[in-house]
Amino acid sequence: MKTNDVILQTTTKVVFFIIFLFSIHIFFAGHFAPGGGFVGGLLTTGALLLLLLAFDLKTVQKALPFNFIIVIGIGLLLSLGTAAGSIFFNVPFFTHAFDHFTLPLFGETELHTAMIFDAGVYLVVVGSALTMIQTIGGDA
């Protein structure tokens, strides 16, 4: 029997972007409010999981043609690179740097190397969660 899930798919197309934007918001909020790379990454995974439920594995793989193991690798490299950058300045590993910048559109913003580290965490979380889902859910 062919099921008809027009309502689910249409809702998903709207809700996906709301969840995704919220996850980005949570990710950037991390330094001064609850949030950060881990929950941000999990929320993004949640959004992608909704896509997987409403459509199927093949469609989502076609829309997001990433090898998620490579995503994990890039995330780890980002985090390690941020932490190891301090080696070149001969200060202890993991020493972070920050400063205030006046950016167009955002106004005065505090930019922090901890955010690059968090971006690495975000990518590792998304990458490993989706690797698991694809491996368990896939046929192979």
Binding site: G73, L80, A84, S86, N90, V91, P92, F94, H96
Partner: protein, 497 residues
């Protein structure tokens, strides 16, 4: 290189970096081998520089993120941890070279080398950290990588044993967290030097002794101490030989190191009770291991039970809490890492040549594989502690320390255990190498046999040099012993910045 303050982190960061890089070349086996080899070589060079630096400048300390000492995570490299890190990288490098010929392409394609490098990151981190929770994290890093290695390949036995292995380790890790939580609620700090200071201030009330015993249980499970080694023989027999060599040489020793560190740094104010327990359990570990080593006709199981014996011997030395005992423990710890690596690689070759691990089905290998036989004999004598080979000086010092401390019965058991060890490994020699050749040996490739011999022979030679060059090693061991016997050296190095 002179004032490179991050040097002590290189043996941790470099394997991690190369493990990440390997994730990008899943299918390219040549790149996997090349990068794993380069990564471990570079890390080994860094570790050797670190040993030289610790020798000239004393304990190396760095507190991550430029925070002051008890608030950030301190990484501390004293002589003991620097030597252990170097030994770890050396053994891993040789095991990886051995894996090139023996592990098989299928495993190499599925993240075999990255898993090894991640595991080494965890092992080196656990040896170097100066923060008890960070030690837990590094334990998990090495354990999760070891879960991958034990199950990789997906044979039936591997699947069954990995379930046991993971179950036991998850439980012990949970207990580790609970123990740290108790400790934190009593002393309010996680930095190991600071914990030592705080415990000395309150003078070790009963609750601290309870925590000491809990830690002994946690690290006893990780390091396979009596009566907590029940998981080890089955689990270690499951994975292929190079993985077994890594596990046998490194993983249990991390547990032993953790016991050595906590029992010489934290729980030193009421050693009558805690160290007595350690002493009794270590003797029982030796006895349990001896029974197992004699009981089996399976080469893997015999050497696996010899791991248990060695754990008992090392902890027996540490429990004496005098100079000879502890320095003997350190000597024996590094000897045992080298010799277990060598023995596992050699029995791996025996199994490869004969196609079985059952002693009763072997025989007459001396006629066809004489170099293998002689190397095995040297390694076996080294394990038993025949002078001037590597196992001698450590056990001599341990027994000396025990006689000084008045544990006569214990020392006699340790000495008698050497005979059992010798008997158990010589039995392998007699059954496998003497006698008439078995009806037919499976056809083996002589090229790959020779390639597998190279790292095994190198490890045997290293262990012989370790025994012969004892005189040259003594200043290093003395530095390592001083830090363990006088925690104030460690505390001053960490907290006085």
């Amino acid at each position: 290189m002179t004032n490179m303050i991050n040097l002590l982190l290189f043996p941790i960061i470099l394997p991690f970096l190369f493990a990440i890089l390997l994730l990008f070349f899943k299918e390219n086996i040549f790149m996997q081998r090349l990068l794993a080899f380069i990564g471990l070589t570079v890390s080994l060079v860094a570790a050797l520089f670190l040993v030289a630096k610790v020798k000239t400048d004393g304990i190396q300390v760095i507190t991550l993120g430029s925070w002051p000492a008890p608030f950030g995570i301190s990484m501390v490299s004293d002589m003991l941890s620097a030597l252990l890190v170097t030994t770890t990288l050396l053994i891993t490098l040789l095991v990886v070279v051995y894996s090139f010929t023996s592990i098989g392409k299928e495993r190499e394609r599925y993240f075999y080398y990255p898993a090894i490098l991640f595991m080494i990151t965890g092992v080196n981190g656990a040896f170097t950290t100066g923060d008890i929770f960070n030690m837990f994290v590094f334990f998990e890093v090495l354990l999760i990588a070891s879960y991958v290695l034990i199950v990789l390949g997906g044979e039936k036995q591997q699947l069954r044993e990995s379930i046991k292995y993971i179950l036991v380790n998850v439980i012990s890790s949970a207990l580790f967290v609970i123990t740290i939580a108790y400790l934190y609620s009593v002393v309010g700090t996680l930095n190991m030097a600071d914990i030592s200071v705080k415990i000395a201030q309150v003078g070790q009330p009963g609750i601290i002794t309870v925590i000491a015993v809990l830690m002994l249980i946690v690290f006893g499970i990780k390091g396979s101490m009596f009566p907590l080694y029940f998981w080890l023989p089955g689990s270690y027999a499951a994975p292929p030989v190079p993985v077994l060599a890594l596990f046998g040489a490194l993983l249990t020793k991390v547990g032993v190191y953790a016991i050595m560190r906590t029992y010489t740094l934290f729980f030193i104010n009421d050693i009558g009770f805690t160290h007595e327990i350690l002493l009794v359990l270590s003797i029982l570990t030796v006895i349990g291991g001896c029974i197992g080593a004699l009981a089996y006709f399976d080469v893997k199981q015999i050497i696996i039970y010899n791991i248990v014996i060695a754990i008992g011997v090392i902890l027996f030395g540490v429990a004496q809490m005098n100079e000879a005992g502890i320095s003997g423990g350190i000597f024996y710890l590094i000897h045992d890492m080298l010799i277990k690596g060598a023995l596992f690689l050699l029995i791996g070759i025996i199994i490869y040549v004969t196609g079985t691990s059952n002693l009763r089905k072997m025989g007459g290998l001396m006629k066809t594989h004489a170099p293998l036989g002689w190397m095995y004999l040297i390694a076996a004598f080294g394990l038993a502690g025949v002078p001037p080979l590597s196992g001698f000086i450590g056990k001599l010092l341990i027994v000396k320390g025990a006689f000084e401390a008045g544990t006569i019965l214990g020392s006699i058991i340790i000495l008698a255990s050497s005979l059992v060890v010798l008997l158990s490994v010589i039995r392998i020699f007699i059954y496998a190498f003497w006698g008439a050749p078995t009806a037919e040996l499976p056809v083996t490739n002589h090229r790959s046999y020779r390639k597998m011999m190279i790292p095994a022979v190198l490890l045997v030679i290293l262990s012989v040099l370790y025994g012969v060059g004892t005189e040259w090693l003594i200043p290093y061991m003395a530095d390592a012993t001083d830090v363990l016997l006088q925690p104030s050296i460690y505390i001053d190095a960490v907290l006085k910045e």
